[in-house]
């Protein structure tokens, strides 16, 4: 057993950290939060120029040919800077959906376009909680998906729909007839979302058979967990450094146990999440049969660590942390958004239990 990334992988990670610190400091996330529409596409162009979207796409699809371990480390670094990009929609979900369910022809067409950044996918899966579902009738989509992340940069939408023949993913071009895109406000203003309205919209079905959405979510959950852990790490560093500077009652607040214990606890949660994420990265890389359990473990653990870290970051900063101009809001809002982005805690707790059951049944069989 060797439960660590290789030296080459760590070097790649340092290189990415250096690149992102240089061109995407937190100010850029703040600019997006403040409503600068050009900033998202500028950032994405830079990520494309650095070759990030191509990371885990195979070379014969014009990708960089790295594996998931490298993609996980990239995600960790994107998380540290809260980089406002469509990586989750287009890479963690979109590319994985094409790899899992696309036909050979579709892979040959889409994967190179996704690697080069020419195709940006937005992944539409969520609906109103009252049961009003998008339907597929005579090959046309009707209804509403909301909220849908990364619509602003998407060249096409991958829409999940339940049909009589099981789940389907329908690829819809941005300019499709009958598609209306309406921006919608969400917690995190640095992560644009929209409502997609379908009125008899035709698209291309991904693959032919039934699509199991959860299999795509499992893979995306591990990658997103790395972003969440990267952000947790950055939030903890900010909190520690501020606590050392800020004085109250004649000494730095970092010298009070109330503050020390709060932050030490976050360190413990972060290490726990990172340990689950290591296992997830490995399970993703080798496509281990424990992937559903590994994904649920990584997602639940990372979500909790980031949630606590971002909430306590504001607490440590005090009143300043509650102001719009402070970076604290970026962490807090991103944390809640990522917690919802791939389904709730309750959903993943059930997925974890199902995953364990499944493995135990296989062991018996």
């Amino acid at each position: 057993m060797n439960f660590e990334f290789s030296e080459e992988q760590r070097e790649l990670q340092s290189e990415i950290r250096r690149q992102l610190a240089q061109f995407c400091p937190l100010d850029r996330c703040m600019k997006v939060m403040n409503g600068d529409p050009a900033e998202r596409s500028n950032i994405w162009s830079s990520l494309v120029a650095l070759g990030y979207p191509a990371t885990a796409i195979e070379e014969h699809y014009q990708g960089a040919g790295f594996g998931y371990l490298e993609l996980c480390l990239l995600a960790h670094e994107l998380g540290r800077q809260l980089v406002p990009s469509p990586m989750m929609s287009t890479i963690y979900l979109g590319v994985e959906a094409v790899k899992l369910f696309g036909s050979p022809e579709q892979k040959t067409q889409y994967l190179p376009e996704l690697a080069s950044g020419d195709r940006v996918l937005s992944f539409a899966w969520a609906e109103r909680p009252d049961g009003a579902a998008v339907i597929l009738r005579n090959g046309k989509l009707y209804g509403e998906k909301l909220p849908v992340a990364d619509y602003d940069l998407a060249t096409s939408f991958l829409v999940y729909v339940n049909s009589d023949d099981g789940g389907k993913l329908i690829l819809i071009p941005r300019d499709a007839e009958g598609l209306t895109i309406t921006p919608v406000s969400v917690f995190d203003g640095s992560w644009p979302h929209a409502i997609l309205h379908f009125d008899s919209v035709a698209g291309i079905e991904l693959g032919g058979g039934a699509v199991d959405l959860q299999l795509i979510m499992d893979r995306a959950a591990i990658l997103l967990a790395y972003e969440q852990i990267g952000a947790t790490e950055a939030a903890l560093e900010l909190a520690v450094s501020y606590a050392k500077e800020r004085n109250a009652f004649g000494r730095p607040i970092a010298s009070y146990q109330a503050i020390k214990h709060k932050l030490a606890n976050i360190f413990a949660l972060k290490e726990l999440a990172l340990s689950h994420a290591y296992y997830g990265a490995w399970a993703l890389q080798v496509n281990d049969r424990s992937l559903p359990r590994a994904a649920a473990g990584a997602r639940l653990s990372a979500t909790r660590a980031f949630e606590q870290a971002s909430a306590e970051l504001i607490q440590v900063y005090g009143g300043m942390g509650y102001t719009w101009e402070s970076f604290c809001q970026l962490f807090y809002k991103r944390s809640r958004m990522q917690a919802l982005a791939l389904g709730s805690e309750m959903h993943w707790q059930a997925r974890l239990v199902d995953g364990i059951k499944l493995e135990k049944c296989e062991e018996v069989a």
Binding site: N2, E4, K244, S255, Q257, I259, A264, L272, V353
Partner: protein, 404 residues
């Protein structure tokens, strides 16, 4: 990154598996949940001796001392395989995990050659005599006096929370040899024969009804200077080394309260309001919480093992393990008994689900949250030594001990 066994590890695992399967058969008919302590101690002695013959009792020691010069990973593989069978409580855990490495570092060749084989033969159990009534978290506040008397030392004072003190043949002992110096500087470390005149061991009854620890009283106990470990006045450094060995047992530790399997098994058997507990969202949430801690710490341990294999000694970040697990076990065990309804109050292992392990954990976890570093001390350690936050405000670090 590769989570599976390497080829060498797989070969080693197969060897170990065979040996264990063949040798644990003696325990097949034993019911450990009702076995009296003295019978279990006898079985533990027998098991250590039989493991020692094959090199498995203290695998990481060099062959000359009865080990097999194994890697940390190999000792984890052994522990994983052994844990699949019921075996007696290991009454040699402190002896092998902390005492033997301390002896190897600080004792004379002659002492090592005499003392270590007796441990591996299952003859000698050791205890650790560190804590005192007014020196727990603040260990360096200890008052047990060591006064030089010719070639010997005379020891007087009281130790407390001495695990297995009533079973121990020897102990490692931290004393104050010079109260004129500041608290950390006037300490000296010894080993002591527990049958020496002047030692009195009294059991302490715990809230779970057991009596694993003791008070140990010393009244003019004579210890030859040859039994001193480390220099006079450097007892604190020796004690810190002992505690480091505890940490190096990375990845091998479980607190022994409840496992994830215990929770899984319990909820698999249980019905809540007429339906299967495992499909109840509140149960799923608590089960997930306990999974995140237990399985996460297992992976955390594997990260440490990989570091050890690369020659890196695990640091104070190891403290997260006991902190998370002890608290988590208390919450998990309380929830498990809650889900059983009033039946969950029954502690009789013959009646209780999962042989009463949840009920035991409810009663034992408060102790585990204190033993070997309280939650608060562990959090201080992480904050100060990992996150670089300021140390606690101390008034007593430079003052001579007698003036405190």
């Amino acid at each position: 990154m590769d989570f599976s066994d390497s080829q060498e590890e797989a070969v080693f695992r197969a060897e170990v598996k065979d040996w264990i399967a063949e040798n644990v058969s003696v325990f097949a008919s034993v019911d450990f949940s009702t076995l009296p302590e003295k019978d279990e101690v006898a079985l533990s002695r027998q098991w250590i001796a039989s493991k020692a013959k094959a090199g498995y009792a203290a695998m990481r020691l060099q062959k000359a001392y009865g080990g097999m010069n194994a890697t940390a990973m190999q000792s984890v593989i052994y522990a994983q395989e052994e844990s699949k069978y019921p075996t007696p409580t290991n009454y040699f855990d402190i002896t092998l995990g902390m005492v033997v490495p301390t002896l190897l570092t600080f004792a004379s060749e002659e002492q090592k050659a005499t003392l270590i084989p007796r441990v591996l033969a299952g003859e000698n159990i050791w205890c650790q005599l560190f804590s005192e009534p007014s020196a727990g978290s603040d260990l360096a506040a200890l008052r047990t006096r060591a006064v030089k008397d010719g070639d010997d030392w005379l020891i007087s004072g009281q130790k407390v929370w001495t695990t297995r003190g009533h079973l121990a043949d020897y102990g490692i002992l931290l004393t104050r040899s010079n109260p004129e110096l500041p608290k950390h500087k006037g300490l000296t470390f010894f080993f002591v024969d527990m049958t020496s005149p002047g030692i009195e061991v009294r059991p302490i009854k715990q809230i779970d009804g057991g009596a694993e620890f003791n008070e140990v009283y010393f009244t003019d106990v004579r210890i030859p200077d040859a039994q001193r470990l480390g220099e006079v006045g450097s007892g604190w450094q020796v004690a810190m080394t002992t505690l480091l060995f505890e940490r190096q047992a990375a990845g091998e530790q479980s607190l022994g309260l409840i496992d994830f399997e215990d929770m899984w098994e319990t909820f698999g058997e249980l019905q809540i309001d007429g339906s299967v507990a495992l499909s109840n969202p509140a149960v799923q949430a608590k089960l997930a919480d306990w999974y995140l801690i237990k399985e996460g710490l297992r992976y955390f341990g594997y990260r440490q093992l990989t570091a050890i294999a690369a020659g890196i000694t695990p640091g104070p970040e190891m403290s997260i393990g006991k902190y998370l697990e002890a608290r988590g076990a208390q919450v998990a065990a309380c929830f498990a008994t809650d889900a059983m309804g009033l039946y969950g109050a029954i502690v009789d292992p013959a009646l209780a689900l999962c042989k009463g392990r949840h009920q035991s954990a409810v009663l034992q976890s408060p102790g585990i949250r204190i033993a070997g570093g309280t939650d608060e001390i562990l959090l201080n350690t992480i904050a100060e030594r990992v996150l670089g936050m300021p140390s606690e405000y101390r008034t007593d670090k430079t003052t001579p001990f007698r003036d405190l």
